[in-house]
């Protein structure tokens, strides 16, 4: 099949999957929308959909009409920061065919560790945040040695192991917070405030964005995307990770160190998740108060699937998810449709993106068409 057709197929397939998900969403919105008559419900559904699909970027008011709002864009970009990191983390682990689902716990642990460094270790401004984030990443990277080594040495399922780690991380952090680290002077369980030296600065003055928290963390995330892209497509280790994911027997026969590379992929995945937690924590908050897993790890999995494990596609997928998520939030505010609709949309899109045979017949048609053209071209060449 020609490259152009291949790309066209991918785009059409993605759009169809998204449309199916939105159709399901519309149906659910219709059921849940307020209104007594069919007409009222329809109107409410339309309003909810408008909020969901346009609201993330445009302010809609009856008097002034629809207008683009920079703050909303900045909000979405800011919301992408943690999920870009978890998306990259999952990309790398899934590329090596390692179903490590520890990004969820990893980002919480990374955030926690970075927060601790931000509170208890005095350091000069500028350096502080960098060190805190790196330590956060490093701790999670080390923790991921556990599922990775258990997998390579004892063939223990990295999936079950990493899932269990998620719960353990959450409870241990909650325990430490409750028992030792909480600032008793506050009404709820949260840590002492971070040292000011540790804050990740906003890109431009927050007032420009009327309070949106778009920090340099976003730039760091984009840099991470580029580094991961280079790593996966331009370095021998990333290359080995991909080859192992495609055909492990081939990688071994070619002389690659399969076991070490599998460990590397999970350690690196852990580092990214942990560092992402640090960037998010120091950029958005002034003290640590997470008491549950944040869900970014699961979104990261969806993002990796949407990006088909290509780091360069992660920002696009993360933007899409952040946009939808924001849309669902707005919808919940204005149209009384619960914001958790996002989880259902996410699940449906995920399923159709991952379904190998989805639209396979259409693809087959394109392949046949290409082959026929190829033959015709060859025949023409022969004659000519």
């Amino acid at each position: 099949m020609t490259r152009k057709r291949e790309i066209r197929f991918i785009i059409i397939r993605s759009l169809v999957a998204i449309c199916i998900a939105l159709l399901v969403a519309t149906l659910l919105i219709f059921i849940s929308a307020g209104g007594d008559t069919f007409h009222e419900k329809l109107e409410a559904t339309g309003e909810a959909l408008r909020q969901m699909l346009i609201g993330p970027l445009f302010r809609m008011s009856k008097k002034k009409g629809t207008s683009f709002e920079l703050k909303r864009l900045a909000d979405i970009l800011a919301a992408m920061i943690p999920t870009i990191f978890t998306g990259l983390s999952v990309c790398i682990m899934f590329s090596a065919n390692q179903f490590n689902l520890g990004a969820e716990g990893g980002i919480m642990l990374g955030a926690f560790v970075s927060a601790m460094v931000a509170i208890y270790v005095p350091m000069p401004a500028g350096l502080h945040a960098v060190v805190a984030v790196l330590i956060g990443g490093a701790v999670v990277a080390i923790l991921m040695l556990l599922p990775a080594l258990l997998k390579t040495k004892l063939s223990v399922s990295e999936m079950v192991c990493s899932l269990m780690l998620n719960y353990i991380i959450m409870y241990v952090i909650k325990f430490l917070m409750n028992t030792y680290l909480a600032d008793k002077s506050r009404g709820q369980i949260m840590s002492y405030p971070f040292r000011e030296t540790s804050a990740i600065a906003p890109i431009v003055n927050n007032t420009t964005f009327s309070g949106a928290k778009l920090t340099w963390g976003f730039v760091v995330a984009i840099v991470a995307v580029i580094l991961c892209g280079l790593f996966m497509y331009r370095s021998r280790w990333g290359y080995a990770i991909r080859m192992i994911g495609i055909n492990q027997a081939f990688a071994g026969y070619s002389g690659m160190k399969v076991g070490s590379v599998i460990v590397l992929s999970q350690v690196l995945g852990g580092f990214l998740a942990g560092a992402g937690g640090g960037v998010e924590m120091l950029g958005r908050y002034t003290s640590f108060s997470w008491s549950a897993l944040p869900g970014y790890g699961w979104t990261g999995i969806t993002i990796a699937i949407l990006a088909s494990n290509n780091p360069y596609m992660v920002p696009l997928a993360a933007f899409f998810m952040a946009y939808l998520s924001k849309g669902c939030d707005l919808m919940a505010t204005y149209a009384k449709v619960p914001a958790q609709l996002i989880d259902i949309i996410q699940g449906v899109i995920f399923l159709f993106f991952a379904a190998e045979q989805f639209l396979a017949k259409y693809r087959q048609k394109l392949v046949v068409k290409s082959a026929e053209e190829e033959i015709a071209r060859l025949n023409l060449n022969k004659e000519g």
Binding site: L28, I31, S32, F99, L101, L146, L150, L154, S155, V156, S157, M159, V160, C161, L163, M164, L165, Y167, I168, M170, Y171, V172, K174, F175, N178, T179, G295, W298, I301, T302, I305, K336, V337, P338, Q340, L341, I342, D343, I344, Q346, G347, F350, L351, A354, A355, E356, Q357, F358
Partner: protein
């Protein structure tokens, strides 16, 4: 220390182990059967969440736990068949199908709960605990005569109907796998699908059946969570039991009985955690115990397995040596 042990040696403690193990046991049986059929269903967690929600809602609307219970089972089965469709028909990696169901099982159930309660109650509720009364839960059963026995009576009698069913199903599933034609086909398809197909067994039909069975068991497990373990559904109430079951399946050597023992180990770990918090230990330190035990259990199981393989290897090498000497 002695005091603490004394606290453990009570019938209540053993009673709680059995009670806590029940939902894990249901999910473990689901994992055992699909594994026998040659694949893995990691969506048990999500299936249980959906079943738990539908069970509690329907029992409220119908005013009877029985209908809720049936709804939970139906939810599990239908959703697992949809999973099967994606996995077998659309060739989606079955692990990814499981992940998707788990994702929906978390926020998606909350969405449905809010939407449905909003439609019927006029306000969106984040859990169904306010709707479910004791009489809408699946009843506990006191077993006559057994409850007369000192100690043992208090351990074994008075459990929820589903707790008894869990252990009964452990037996029935084992019988199904080893004594019925269906079980024979499931095991054959799991081990050598070509061999099964070559004698006219429909591999697809068996895979869907195994999938539906795992949905049914998840239905039981979900119903137990929202209609017996707790009164009503709340967010993330299954809290990893579907995942622990995957580990229990592995640790139990893929068999029902072994799975049951593993489930009891996890039940013990959790009951112990609850006891710890009862004597003043932070519950957040006690809660991760079952998860840590799971990892530990997997490691021990893997070590035992690898040493067994090593033994087999050396036995084989010995046999090879002998054969060489003879030839």
């Amino acid at each position: 220390m002695l005091n603490f042990l004394k606290m453990l040696a009570t019938p209540e403690f053993f009673y709680s182990i059995i009670r806590i193990s029940a939902p894990i046991l249901f999910a473990t049986l689901a994992a055992v059967v699909v594994e026998k059929a040659g694949f893995a269903n990691i969506g048990l967690e999500g299936l249980m969440m959906f079943a738990a929600l539908s069970g509690s809602l329907v029992s409220y609307y119908a005013g009877s736990w029985f209908w809720g219970f049936l709804a939970a089972l139906a939810t599990g089965v239908i959703m697992s068949l949809v999973m099967g469709f994606f996995a077998f028909k659309l060739k989606t990696d079955i692990i990814l199908v499981g992940i998707a169901v788990n994702m929906m099982g978390s926020g998606g159930t909350l969405f449905l709960c809010k939407v449905i309660t909003n439609l019927t109650e006029g306000k969106a509720m984040a859990s169904t605990t306010g709707l479910i009364t004791r009489s809408l839960c699946i009843p506990d059963i006191t077993i006559p005569l057994l409850n007369q026995i000192p100690f043992l009576g208090r351990v074994l009698s008075g459990h929820n109907l589903l707790t008894y069913l869990a252990f009964l199903f452990c037996l029935l599933t084992s019988l199904m796998l080893y004594k019925t034609p269906l079980g024979l086909n499931i095991r054959a398809v799991g081990e050598n699908p070509d061999a099964a197909a070559s004698v006219g067994v429909s591999v697809m039909k068996i895979r869907y059946t195994a999938m539906a069975f795992s949905g049914l068991m998840s239905g039981f497990g979900g119903a137990f969570m929202s209609m017996a373990y707790a009164q009503g559904w709340s967010l993330d109430m299954v809290s990893g039991r579907g995942f622990i079951a995957l580990a229990a399946q592995a640790m139990g050597g893929g068999e029902c009985l072994g799975g049951m023992l593993s489930a009891l180990v996890f039940g013990f770990a959790q009951a112990l955690g609850i006891k710890f918090s009862a004597i003043g230990l932070d519950s957040n330190l006690a809660s991760p115990i079952p998860y840590a035990v799971t990892i530990l259990g997997l490691v021990i199981f893997a070590l035992v397995r690898s040493s067994r393989i090593r033994k087999q290897h050396s036995a084989a090498a010995l046999a090879k040596g002998k054969a060489k000497a003879e030839s």
